[in-house]
Structure formats: C-alpha cells, structure tokens
C-alpha cells in the first residue's frame, strides 16, 4: 500500500495531530479510496468539537465519509440511522448517481460508532436536506479522484474519459477501460471533499429522481431484520425494573424477598434502580410482581382538562418570533375583531417498537445495541453512567422500529448498561408497552391565543399570536398581514418544567399545534368575510411558492370556491416545515348525532425542492397524513397527578385501516432547488385541514385537538 505518498493527494493543509488521528481511524478499514466530508452547519460543528474535545483519538475534521473499496463496492459511513424514514435508500441513490455506480454496489453503514465518525442524532428531517448535499459533493469528488487515477493508468486525459457502472473508459475507444475496483486495489488514499467538483444537474441524473423501492424491505418481510430486542447473547438476562405509579411518586419502602425466592432470579438494587433479572422475560415479570413497594405520591390537581390553565399561568417570558407594524393601532383600525384560544393535549409517540437495548461489558469495554435516534448520544450517556471513557463504549445501531422524535433520549440503554455492570452479564432491557407510555417524552400540551382583525375591505389587518409550550416551529405565519406579532412561550424539552412528565420533540415538533391554530383562525376570518377559504388565502399570499402549492392542491382536489360553511365538508390548510411548503385539502363527513368525524379524502401537495426518490417521498406524505389523523381526531394522553392513565392501545387509540381516507399526493416539480425535508412536513396541516372541513360540514368550530365526537357536538351546540 502506498499510504503516505497517497495521502499527499489530499489538498488540505492540516496539523500532524489531525493526520495521525485520521490515519488511526482509517487504519481499521484497509485499502480503498476515502472521501472525508463535513456535513452540517456551524452550530453542529461546534457541538461536535465540544463532544470530541475529550477524545483526541477521534478525527474532528470530518463527520462522515465514503469509501470506494478494493472490491469496487462503495460505502457511506454515517452516524445517521434508519427508522423507517427511508434514508437508507435515498442516500444510496445520491451516492450511486454522483459516482456513476449501480445502486446495487452501494452500502450504507449507519450509526456504528466504531466505524462512523461522530454525528448528532437523526431528527428534524435533516438527513436529506442537510446531509444529502454534502454526501453528493463527496461522491462527486470521489468520481473525480477515480478519473484522475484512471487518467494516469490509461494515459488518457481526464476530459476524454467517461464512467458507467463503476467502469472508467476512453470515449473514443471503450476497450480502453479500468474499473473502480482495479483503481482502488492496493491503495489507501484519503482526500477531503473540496466542494469544488460540480454536482450533476437534474438532466444528468440516472438514479436520483427515480422511484426506488425500499432497500431494507427484503430483510423486513422475512423477519431477518434485527431490532434492539432481537439481539440475544449467550447468558443474557432480561431485566424488569420497578417503576413508580406516578411521575411525582417517591419510594417509601420496598420488600423484594418475594422476588428473590423465584429460582434463577437476580434482584439488583443500586440507588434508584431496583430490578429483577432472569433468563426469561416472563419469569422476570413474575418476579417483579412479587416486589412490594410503597410510594409517597403528593396530591396534584393536574389532569388533561386542568393542564391548560396551569400552563398559561406557568408560562415563561415570551420570545418574539416575528413582528411588524403597530398592533395597538391595527386593533383600533380593524372593523371586525376575532379572538380565539386553541388547545392541544399531550400526544404519545407510540412507535410499534417499544424502547429496548442490550448491553454487554467485556473487561473495560461495553457494547450496546439501542433503539435510538441518537447513537453518539448513547455513547456519551452510557460512558457517564458507568464512569468510563466514551472511547470504550461501542454503539451498534440495529433497525429502529419507529422513532418520530421519541427515541432521542436513551434511558433504557443507560438502564441496560448499569444492570450489565451490576450483574456481570449481558442484559436486555425491553420496555413493556406500559413503560413505553409512562416514560414517553410526550408532545407537549399547548395553548395558542390568537387575536386578529379584518379591515373594511375584508383584508387581514391585525394578527397577534401567542403560543404557549408548543414551541416556535411553525408559529410564524406566511400571509401578507401589515401589523402582526408572533410570540412563543416555551420551556425546554426534557423532564423539567411545568409539565407533569417529560416532553420532547414529536414529528414536526410544535408545527402541528401551530398550524392547527393559525389555519383555523384564517378560516374563521374567511368565513366571516364571506370569502371562499382558498380564495381568501390566495388574496393574502405574496409567497409564490405557497400560491403554487395551494393551487396544485386545489386542482387535484377539484376545489370549487364557495363560502363556508357550504355543507360539503371540504377543508384547506397550508403549512411550512423543514424547508418544505405544504397545502392540504380534505373532505370529511360529520355524524350530526354523535359528532363523529370520518375523513373521506385527503389531497396533499408539497414543494420539497429536488425529490431524490419520488416514491419514498410519497410514502412519507401518506404516512404523515395517516399518522396525523390520530392527533387531530383521537390521541390525547389522560393523566392524573403524574400518573399516566393511557398505558396501552386499548385506550390510547392510534389510526387504523378503517380510518384510512383516499389519499392523493402531488409533488411539485422543482428539481433545481435543493432537496428539503420529507418525513415531517405533510403532518403539520392535518389538524387545521380537518378542523376547517368540520366547520364547512356542520358550521361548528372546534378549537381543541383532538377533535373528538364530544368536542364536535359541543361546538355544534355553541355554533
């Protein structure tokens, strides 16, 4: 191997330390051509360098790389993970296309902390839009390196060479050729992506922009795909952990003798962690049931009905998200004023896979297999919990059975690691469904107060928007309103704050609540002005992209302008999330006796820039619409004094086949704009579009999600 001389190919000047750490890191990989790249923006890099400061053994000058191997296979190594969103396919498409190799020759190595450089977690619909362009640039750079090597070998100028399926050939004589595998053979070349090699333009795409079925589907339909709880090691013990009855409860005393009498059961107590372990989870479960524990539970008046007043009174100072004009004057000048308070309850993530993790300690090293959106966060947390150096923690990411923002905290992995240390055996912690509900970091309950006004011509003149606890994402409006202010009052996600339990990001965090409130209020004003709600929106939109998306949805839906309520049950809502513009239309039927809402049809148009995998993007839209039916119509965590009352799917109902409307998706053709988020945007409009369709059906304005039959009946009586 010609390591050192080849390394000089690298154009960047760098410190000796950086070279040493990089060489050490790459040593494990053997031969091949490596393109190192940085994916992400500055804040991320700062965070990354802080996280890495204590660990000089890891390279800090790149956070992903791709490798063209000596066998001609191409691999991307990244700390991102696959949890159903399909990036294992879309990222491979980008890389294959820029490198001119077949999709079959591409591997994605994800979330493996020994192989992949540091990355923050997988969230925010960032994988395609923030990571993708850097991956493409690195792949284009790789192609350039290979062309230069081929030029040397074939004694032909680069501009006379072309590539197809990983074979470089002379355009004037195709027999003069060399494969990527041959070029990579016996070499170890590492180069930083310079970002100077041009990317392919859409007319040159062969694999991007095409619909490709999921590359992970074959292992998922045969049961071969491994999730965290599927990892089974020799001598592994299954743990069940004593849990409090409520988030406010403190343990008074505990008697574990009953559990200790069961053969083969280990009982472990370490501070707050009391666990029983056995070779079988059912025996561990029986043992747990024998533990007698008394708790002190302070009284609390908080429940799913009283929470909203509590939140408003506990709200911190607001942060002005946007502001223009004069609110006081505008209020005076408005001829019709509107004031509404919108409410949204707590929602569970409820992925089908409950949190699970396996931990195995060997000597001073620990290996963990977590269900996590954040493998490098796991590395840090496990190291802290065990008092060991992070370099001794190896995280292997199995498939994740749904995350939606809920698998960003790593409690179960820390529990497994602690128990592995205490017992000296490999340990699996797999939460029951009840634990999954109890320890979820719920989408926060939230309140939105909107005051708005129309002028004499029926234009929105005044908009005063205050959101409590949903967060600022999606709070700002995109309509032309001369006098407006948007304020967000929120607490940080996590265990602290005024909520009775942990809260956290939930698919398009904040935006579902904000879009429900904003789009409802817009409709309230359109109805009062006597203008069709699509027409009313178009009158207030200067944003050409949103106009185009809204018109595309209206065309597909066959929207005919009418004043609301028209009795048709048609609704519209617009939203922006993760760089993607969305307009959704729905048709609902409302049973006037029961108040039950049936969503019959949903049309969603979205502009997400360049679409890497149209089929994959469409599936994400369908998933958003289907999942969105749940928070809009049914999902609401009931609780009392810190005890979560909904602990399984019997009372916490999520969307089913029988709820499914006819779904149609329109992806706006916009291939010259950068690709944007796809896993979240289309869910944000579901509350608003259904609320507006309900109003159009029966003239009842429902101001609280979920829009249960009871709330619809109540709104009908009020309306």
């Amino acid at each position: 191997m010609e390591r050192d001389s080849d390394l000089q190919l690298d154009p960047s000047s760098e410190s000796v330390a950086a070279q040493v750490s990089r060489r050490a890191f790459l040593k494990a990989f053997g031969g091949g051509i490596f393109i190192l790249f940085v994916a992400g923006d500055l804040p991320r890099l700062v965070e990354m360098s802080e996280a890495l400061a204590a660990r000089p053994e890891l390279p800090t000058d790149f956070n992903a790389f791709l490798r063209i191997g000596e066998d001609g296979r191409v691999a991307c190594y990244t700390g991102k993970i696959e949890m159903g969103q399909g990036v294992v396919t879309s990222l491979a498409q980008m890389m294959a296309d820029e490198l001119d190799v077949s999709l079959d020759s591409v591997d994605m190595v994800m979330g493996e902390t020994e192989l992949c450089p540091y990355d923050m977690g997988t969230w925010g619909s960032l994988t395609t839009r923030a990571f993708g362009p850097h991956l493409r640039a690195a792949a284009a750079e790789g192609r350039q390196v290979l062309l230069e090597l081929a030029s040397d070998q074939l004694k032909k100028p680069v501009n006379q060479l072309s590539v197809e399926n990983g074979v470089v050939f002379d355009r004037s004589n195709r027999n003069v050729s060399v494969t990527y595998a041959q070029l990579a053979k016996g070499k170890q070349i590492a180069r930083h992506a310079s970002g100077k090699v041009p990317l392919k333009t859409p007319d040159q795409f062969k694999i991007m922009g095409r619909s490709i079925t999921r590359r992970d589907a074959p292992v998922k339909v045969t049961g071969e795909a491994k999730y965290a709880a599927d990892i089974q090691l020799p001598e592994m013990l299954y743990a069940r952990i004593l849990r409090p009855p409520s988030h406010a409860a403190t343990l008074v005393d505990v008697d574990v003798s009953g559990a200790e009498q069961i053969e083969g059961v280990k009982v472990v107590r370490d501070g707050d962690l009391i666990a029983v372990l056995h070779r079988y989870p059912d025996v561990a479960n029986d043992a747990l049931a024998k533990i007698k524990a008394r708790y002190n539970t302070p009284p609390s008046k908080l429940d799913e009905n009283t929470i909203f007043d509590h939140l408003v009174s506990a709200a911190p100072e607001g942060e002005v998200v946007s502001k223009s004009g004069s609110l006081d004057r505008a209020r005076q000048e408005s001829t019709t004023l509107f004031e509404n308070t919108y409410l949204d309850g707590y929602k569970a993530h409820a992925p089908m896979e409950p949190h699970a993790a396996v931990a195995h300690i060997e000597g001073d090293r620990v290996t963990v297999w977590p269900s996590s959106q954040n493998p490098f966060g796991v590395k840090e947390e496990v190291a802290r919990a065990l008092g060991m150096s992070a370099e001794n923690v190896h995280v292997i990411s199995p498939f994740v059975g749904g995350g939606f923002g809920g698998k960003s905290r790593n409690q179960q992995t820390v529990e497994a690691a602690r128990l592995a240390k205490l017992t000296g055996k490999p340990v699996q912690v797999a939460w029951t469904r009840a634990e999954e509900f109890f320890f979820d970091s719920f989408r926060p309950a939230a309140v939105v107060k909107i005051k708005s006004g129309l002028d004499a011509k029926g234009h929105i003149h005044y908009w005063d928007y205050d959101v409590y606890f949903a967060g600022a994402r999606g709070a700002d409006h995109f309509y032309s309103i001369p006098n407006h202010r948007t304020v967000s009052r929120s607490a940080a996600w996590g265990a602290q704050g005024p909520h009775p339990f942990a809260t956290g990001p939930w698919r398009a965090p904040g935006n579902n609540t904000n879009t429900f409130a904003r789009e409802s209020q817009i409709d309230v004003m359109a109805a009062k002005a006597g203008i069709d709600p699509v027409e009313f929106r178009l009158q207030h939109l200067a944003d050409e992209k949103m106009k185009r998306v809204l018109k595309a949805a209206a065309d597909k839906f066959g929207w005919k302008p009418m004043k609301t309520p028209s009795g048709r049950g048609f609704g519209v809502a617009c939203g922006i999330d993760a760089g993607t513009w969305v307009a959704t239309m729905a048709e609902v039927a409302v049973d006037k006796d029961s108040g039950k809402v049936t969503v019959k049809r949903v049309v969603c148009a979205q502009d997400m820039g360049l679409v890497i995998n149209p089929e994959g993007a469409t599936i994400q839209v369908e998933g958003c619409i289907t999942m969105g039916l749940g928070y809009a119509l049914k999902e609401d965590i009931r609780f009392k004094g810190g005890a979560v009352l909904d602990l399984n799917f019997d009372t916490y109902e999520i969307p089913r086949f029988s709820w499914l409307p006819r779904i149609e998706t329109v992806l706006i053709d916009n291939p010259h704009s950068d690709p944007q988020g796809g896993g979240e945007p289309a869910i944000v409009t579901m509350g608003g579009v259904i609320a507006n369709a309900i109003f159009d059906a029966v003239g009842a304005r429902v101001l609280q999600m979920p829009m249960t039959p009871g709330r619809v009946r109540q709104a009908m009586r009020a309306g």
Binding site: A217, V221, Y227, D230, D282, M352, F399, N648
Partner: protein, 157 residues
C-alpha cells in the same frame, strides 16, 4: 409447568421442553431464536406478534406453548420457500408496504390468514380483516394495495 410439547414449526417437526405456560411469543423468540415475531403491546391490541396456528392468525402474546401441542405453527421466517419470497412478502416489497418494518411480520401473517379464508377479498373486507393490526408509520394504504396484488398473484394457488 415444564412439559414436552410437540408441534410443527415452519413445516418441520419441533419440540419444546419448557414451561408450557410460557407464551408462544417468548418461546419463539427466546427458546427457538425466531425473532421475526415481535413484542408490540403484550395484550393483544397491536398484532405485531401475530403467527399462524393451523393457518389461523393468532396473537402469540396471548397463547401458551401448551396450546400449540400437535398444531402447525408458521412464523414470518417460514413463509418464504426455497429462498423465494411468498407472494405476500413480494407484494409488500413491491408496494413499499412498510416503513420501520416492526409491524410487518404481523401484517403479512394476518393477511395470509385473511386470504386463506377469503382469497378474493374486497377492499372493505381487507380493511375489516386487518383493522386490529396497528402500524404507526402510516403504511396502511400500501399494505392494502400489497394485499390486493398478492390476492391476484395467489389466485389458483
């Protein structure tokens, strides 16, 4: 109680010498190392643990090892034959009828049982037959389409 239970598993004779009150779910996953059958809710609400017992869809979290004595059990690992995917599996792949994949084993086996009793179901019959199997990613539309395709493929077989 520990007892010897004999049954057929994925077309082959199998025996389990374990606590026969153990749920079939844990016996499959731990004693037999067949982890394609998933724990989702433990109380029969979600269907992730669905297996076939004498061609009927059963929730393996609710049945005991002793319940399958002399019966024919099929798990997701037993559906493909000689390396060839079953038409339902193939249709799930072709329609992208899954995202995270955690509910998929249960979906496919529940659909298998549905098509056994009704080889030409209407869309409404598919919806009714699948309604108690939960999916959080929202792959429902694709799953229905995959089952329709598989039903056409399987006609006459």
């Amino acid at each position: 109680m520990r007892e010897l239970v004999r049954f057929r598993l994925n077309g082959k004779p199998a025996t389990l010498d374990v606590d026969s009150d153990r749920t079939l779910l844990w016996a499959l996953r731990i004693d037999l190392q067949l982890t394609g059958t998933k724990y989702g809710c433990g109380e029969s609400y979600c269907g992730a643990c669905t297996v076939l017992v004498d061609n009927r869809a059963e929730r393996s979290c609710q049945i005991r090892v002793k319940d399958v004595q002399n019966k024919d059990v099929v798990t997701i690992e037993g559906l493909a034959e000689n390396g060839k995917l079953h038409p339902l599996q193939q249709a799930f792949v072709d329609h992208d009828a899954l995202q995270c994949g955690y509910c998929t084993s249960g979906m496919i086996l529940n659909a298998y049982a549905l098509l056994k009793t009704n080889p030409t179901p209407s869309q409404a019959q598919i919806v009714a037959g699948m309604d108690d199997n939960l999916c959080r990613c929202g792959a429902h539309k694709r799953i229905i389409e995959a089952i329709q395709t598989a039903a056409r493929e399987m006609k006459g077989s």
